[in-house]
Amino acid sequence: MLRQILSAIPRDFSLPITIVQHRGREIHDGLQLALQCNCSLPVREPEDKQPIRPGQVFLAPADYHVLVDGGRFALSTEAPVHYSRPSIDVLFETAADAFCSGVIGVILNGANRDGAQGVARIKALSGTVVVQDPATAESPVMPTAAIEATTVDKVLGPAEIGAFLTQLTQTRS
């Protein structure tokens, strides 16, 4: 899913992309390498206090939460949220607080409700929310929870998400 979307993102995509994928505690670069395969932008795990810049895809590292703090990433080892560390809610809520209408939150398939509160906050602060159509999702729990939590802007199939994001950023710039 992620790889499909990333492969549709052009090299000159004007916004920084940050990904939270629920992952085990074990530290290995398998996920990063797998995502890098079809992605024209470099995929990196951010370090604490790293500035958020476009032209990269940031992947939340195992066993840390990623927060947005001013124009930088801030890491945390606070308790898991929805049994997850990294948690989508933590990223989305802090991104919404930092960038308000400048945030686009995308929810893909997943097995728990992590992210639902996050998209609600993004919408409350005038951001944009895109959710994978639950009918196309292997685990529909996560996108369904997001749709129930707030008025999402778009519900799309996997093939359409990448194109929609690209079009959105071109409209903005």
């Binding site: 370090e47 604490d48 703090d69 890491l75 080892t77 930092a98 409350a124 602060l125």
Partner: protein
């Protein structure tokens, strides 16, 4: 009030005022902590106290000393495990221990030790390397409450499976259960003798250097500080490290944005182990 739209500007102001109130009233200075993470922790504590605004939390903390204690404890406890990041311990064994073997006496400092998992893990590692009788371990934290827990070496029984897996991946050579005694719902680790380990209150924000060390561990502590405070703490660490002493940071921390970067040589780039050379 519950259904009001969030207003990040007002909430940021409430955080600022609350931290000023805490400093003014109780003397703890969290004003240079990283904004996003402390905001979340304060909101969590607000919810734990069944309140609906940070201003209400401020009111409680100003008037009830026990509420400040509860906040302090909630901030000091980190959900972690023994031998977290097992590869760090492998790297430490392989790259730092050989240096330590050459010293007749070794002083180590766990700065911000929280509930002590790292302290007990390192004590086990040092024992397995045959260095424990030469070591003096200092473990400090802001909170008396977590220090007491760290000192007792008591951990929940349910976490032992994860701790054991980590221990083995960290290169542990014994049976992990040799290091603890199991009780009904928890275990006591007995690898830290009182003459080798000192647990003491120390505030990284405001206190000065306590000694000169061969190794300082400050892992996943400074992530909660803003860059200005990080620089201050790095200065304290630098002043507390002997020449060729070792600094260990968390896996996703870095000296890259620090003015002290050039004072250290990278010993392990992945596991963030550095040696003071400048």
């Amino acid at each position: 009030m519950l259904t009001a739209l969030p207003d990040p500007e007002i909430e940021a102001l409430e955080v600022k005022l609350l931290l000023e109130a805490i400093y003014d009233r109780h003397g703890y200075d969290f004003r240079d902590y990283a904004q996003a993470s402390i905001h979340r922790r304060l909101v969590k504590q607000m919810e734990a106290e069944a309140l609906h605004s940070l201003s209400a939390l401020q009111d409680l903390i100003l008037r009830e000393p026990a509420a400040m204690e509860r906040l302090l404890l909630s901030m000091a406890v980190h959900v972690t495990s023994m031998f977290r990041d097992p590869k760090f311990y492998v790297a430490f064994r392989g790259k730092v221990v050989p240096y330590l073997r050459t010293y007749p006496f070794i002083r180590l400092w766990h700065a911000g030790c929280s509930t002590g998992e790292e302290v007990h893990s390192m004590a086990i590692l040092l024992q397995e390397c045959g260095l424990d009788d030469r070591c003096r371990i200092y473990a400090t934290d802001l909170s008396d409450g977590v220090l007491r827990r760290a000192h007792t070496g008591v951990f929940p029984l349910g976490a032992m499976k994860e701790h054991t897996e980590n221990y083995l991946q960290a290169g542990g050579s014994r049976s992990f259960s040799e290091y603890y005694t199991a009780r009904e719902s928890d275990v006591i680790f007995h690898c830290l003798s009182p003459e080798r380990a000192v647990f003491a209150q120390h505030n990284l924000v405001s206190d000065g250097s306590i000694n000169e060390f061969n190794v300082i561990f400050c892992r996943n502590v400074m992530i909660y500080f803003n860059p200005k405070l990080q620089d201050r703490v790095h200065r304290l660490i630098y002043e507390s490290l002997g020449h060729l002493g070792f600094l260990a940071l968390g896996r996703k921390e870095s000296l890259r944005f620090s003015p002290y970067e050039s004072c250290y040589k990278e010993i392990d780039a992945q596991e963030k182990i550095y040696q003071k050379v400048g």
